[in-house]
């Protein structure tokens, strides 16, 4: 053994595993964060360095600037509705996203807020009515609804998961029944409450839609900021701990029951805030404003954006409302949306380029072939007219067949399309490529004959489809982060 001892044996480098103290799963997740390739990834990393509040402020300013550049009339109304739903989704995120309690009666809290505000700021109660100033009435309504939230949340202490969903669902249903049938002199029954006072800010009543739009932007930004601060507070961390494992959270001395009730109360308060502004802006409230389809709409927004993320909830809700309320109302816009989305999905999802070209080419050829054959067999098979107009309409004229009895054919096409779509998910990649052209063609056919004709139904179908597809394909939503699940 010599004095100049050799270097220590060149063993394997120390494992790049979790650091001491960092949870193994968390470390691995952070390590595996996926970034987009090339410069996009660098931009993503840079964007992540910007703190949350400059981003929120920037988004708020951009939203507030929209009316200045000529957003008006109908578009402004869509914007207001979208902001209300975004506020609701952000509030729902507290119970569903953070605490993991499936609250299916959430829309009733919204309704309670709206009705509560309506009762204390209209001529409905008593001889002259109650007309509280809004700086008093809104906090009052929020407090009352939060108390109601605690009351509805009480069963959550005993009921696990699904049972809570049922009780809250029935609470939501009961609310609609209640406002429809009970105390018609006070609550107005199906006729609702009309003539609600506007909200006053610093003594100035807001009467214009632009005013309500700006108010909603401010309220949404402030709510998001408050919730963001709450998210990483003791309470926020307790919520997420309860979501992951109530039993473990309890043994870590988190007061599980109280934390759950707090989630309900906070969610209900946000909903009441949204309800008050909604009631003041609409000047009237009706029981039908608070039915189940609206609840599902809020859920769709939350799920699309990503449950558990504030930014995700707001973005998802805004996106879904702009599509649902804005684009799908006009046939031209909905046509752009439909064909644009299909093309975009194909371009993003189909690789390599050869395969994409093949599928698109085959679809085009298939369309022209089908149209030519159908026209040669019977003139009636192409006698109908496309529902798309403009350049999409003229481009598709010789491609999509529209038979004389478009509605019936479209119905069968719809059934076949749903079957094909289900089949597409189940089969192997090669068969999928073969099945894609007929599916795409059938989709265009059904769109032209049926879906585009009935936009009211189509947008509801879209909401249902979003819930199903998102839960299966990307449960963390567009902006959420994939959660690490302990499998039990």
């Amino acid at each position: 053994m010599s004095l100049d001892s050799p270097l220590p044996p060149a063993g394997p480098p120390p494992p790049a595993g979790p650091q001491v103290g960092a949870d193994e799963w968390v470390a691995r997740e952070a390590h595996r964060r996926e970034y987009l390739p090339s410069w996009l990834g660098r931009a993503q990393r840079q964007a992540e360095r910007v703190g949350w509040w400059p981003r929120l402020a920037l988004a708020g300013l951009a939203a507030a600037a929209l009316p200045l550049i000529g957003l008006g009339g109908f578009q402004l109304q869509v914007g207001i509705d979208a902001l209300v739903v975004a506020l609701l989704a952000v509030g729902l995120n507290i119970t569903v996203g953070w605490t993991g309690l499936l609250d299916l009666g959430y829309v009733a809290f919204f309704g309670c807020g709206a009705y509560g505000f309506a009762l204390v700021s209209s001529g409905q109660v008593g001889a002259n009515g109650i007309h509280l100033p809004s700086y008093l009435s809104i906090p009052l309504v929020m407090l009352a609804t939060a108390a109601l939230g605690v009351l509805v949340g009480l069963p959550s202490r005993r009921l696990v998961g699904d049972y809570l969903a049922i009780v809250t669902l029935f609470f939501g249903e009961a609310f609609v029944e209640f406002t429809n049938n009970v105390a018609p002199n006070t609550l107005g029954g199906p006729n609702g409450i009309v003539g609600i006072d506007p909200i006053s800010v610093f003594g100035h009543p807001i009467t214009s839609n632009t005013g309500y739009y700006l108010l909603l932007v401010v309220v949404l930004v402030v709510t998001m900021a408050v919730l963001r601060l709450l998210e990483f507070s003791r309470t926020g961390r307790a919520w997420r701990a309860v979501r992951e494992d109530p039993l473990a959270a309890g043994s870590m001395t988190i007061p599980v029951d109280r934390v759950k009730l707090m989630a309900f109360a906070f969610g209900a308060a946000v909903a009441a805030l949204a309800g008050s502004i909604f009631a003041a802006q609409q000047i009237s409230v009706f029981p039908t404003d608070f039915d189940t389809p609206f609840l599902i709409l809020i859920y769709a927004g939350l799920i699309l954006g990503g449950a558990g993320s504030i930014a995700g909830a707001a973005t998802g809700a805004l996106l879904i409302m702009v599509i649902y309320d804005g684009l799908l109302r006009s046939p031209t816009d909905s046509g752009y949306l439909f064909y644009g989305l299909i093309l975009l999905t194909l371009v993003v999802k189909l690789r390599p380029w050869r395969r994409l070209g093949l599928v698109l080419g085959a679809t085009l050829a298939l369309g022209f072939a089908v149209h030519a054959i159908a026209a040669a067999i019977s003139a009636r098979a192409v006698a109908g007219s496309l529902s798309s107009t403009g350049w999409i309409g003229s481009a598709l004229r010789d491609w999509v067949i529209v038979p004389a009895n478009a509605a019936t054919a479209g119905n069968w096409g719809f059934v076949a399309l749903v079957c094909l779509l289900i089949a597409l998910v189940q089969v192997s990649s090669r068969t999928r490529t073969i099945l894609l052209p007929p599916t795409l063609y059938l989709a265009a056919f059904v769109w032209e004959t049926r879906l585009s004709v009935e936009p009211a139904v189509t947008r509801q179908l879209l909401i249902g489809a979003i819930l199903i597809v998102m839960m299966n394909a990307r449960p963390q939503g567009l902006l959420g982060q994939r959660r690490v699940e302990a499998i039990t």
Binding site: F171, E173, I463
Partner: protein, 305 residues
């Protein structure tokens, strides 16, 4: 007193229908621990299948085949098609989520319910479709005891409901498939290790449960005459209530719950007011949930750690 018994009979008939829907609901909950919100909409699809079978054979007033044969075709077709639909839904939407957090399949189920309802709206329109049962089954041909009349449709619903319930009980308790179902319900992983084909068992459960809902849909069409895309939601809620009141996952409980809800509903409509029926049913559910969360016949579950 005659009025009371008449309401009781009506209530039991409606209750039998709710029981059938609740049975399927409870079965699915048993094996998958999933509240299948889409179950009520399967009832609606069944009702539409029955309606189109009547139309196919010439419409209610000019039937081209005999009435028993028509009824048989209606029930078999509705059961088969809706059962198939249930299996397709399970395969497409629920199977990928079997190990996902509990909230994911629930939200998917809500989405499916919404999708089915609106697909029916797209395909069949929002207008009322009418069975016109009275045109081909004479309502007077029933049993009259004192002042209580049980018409033939009610008798059929009661008998068929009883037969199906007993049949289902025998199937679950006596056959190999039933044994597999119970095993999967008790512990899916353990069942799989014992060589039970879990996927097949769950699919079979979905088929049976959905088929019951489809048959109940035809019954509902015959009883209430009217079919719209939205009937599924409210019947689904009632069946829900029935299953939960009886103890979710328990088949006798679902039956008992269905009958209870049916009778309670008919009594409230008869003696108090029809506007408050739904409110009372919902209140009943919430009270049962608070007082006895495991339902009347359900067993309280211990939480595994």
């Amino acid at each position: 007193m005659g009025f009371f018994f008449q309401e009781l009979v009506n209530g039991i008939t409606t209750g039998a229908l709710y029981s059938l829907v609740a049975l399927g609901f409870s079965m699915v909950y048993g094996v998958l621990k999933l509240l299948n919100f889409a179950h009520g909409d399967l009832y609606m699809v069944g009702a539409y299948v029955g309606f189109f079978v009547i139309q196919w054979f010439g419409g209610p007033s000019a039937l081209t085949i005999s009435v028993p044969l028509l009824l048989l075709i209606m029930f078999v077709l509705a059961g088969g098609l809706v059962g198939g639909l249930g299996v397709a839904i399970e395969r497409f939407a629920y199977r990928p989520l079997r190990d996902a957090p509990r909230i994911a399949p629930l939200i998917t189920a809500i989405g499916i319910s919404f999708f089915l309802e609106n697909a029916a709206l797209l395909l069949f329109g929002a207008q009322f479709r009418v069975y016109n049962t009275a045109d081909f089954i004479s309502l007077s041909s029933g049993i009259t005891i004192g002042s209580v009349t049980i018409d033939s449709v009610q008798i059929m619903v009661l008998v068929l409901g009883l037969v199906l319930t007993v049949g289902l009980r025998e199937l679950v308790n006596r056959t190999k498939l039933g044994k597999q179902m119970r095993a999967v319900a008790a512990d899916r992983e353990a069942a799989e290790m014992m060589g039970i084909n879990v996927n097949f068992t769950i699919a079979a459960t979905f088929f049976l449960g959905s088929a019951l809902a489809g048959v109940a849909g035809v019954m509902g069409g015959l009883l209430f005459n009217q079919v719209t895309p939205t009937i599924g939601f409210i019947v689904g809620l009632k069946a829900f209530t029935a299953a939960v009141v009886g103890g979710i996952g328990s088949l006798p409980g679902a039956m008992l719950g269905g009958l209870l809800i049916g009778v309670a509903e008919s009594m409230i409509t008869g003696y108090i007011s029809s506007t408050f029926t739904n409110l009372f049913v919902f209140a009943l559910l919430i009270v049962v949930m608070l007082v006895r969360p495991s339902g009347l016949l359900g067993r309280a579950q211990l939480q595994k750690v």
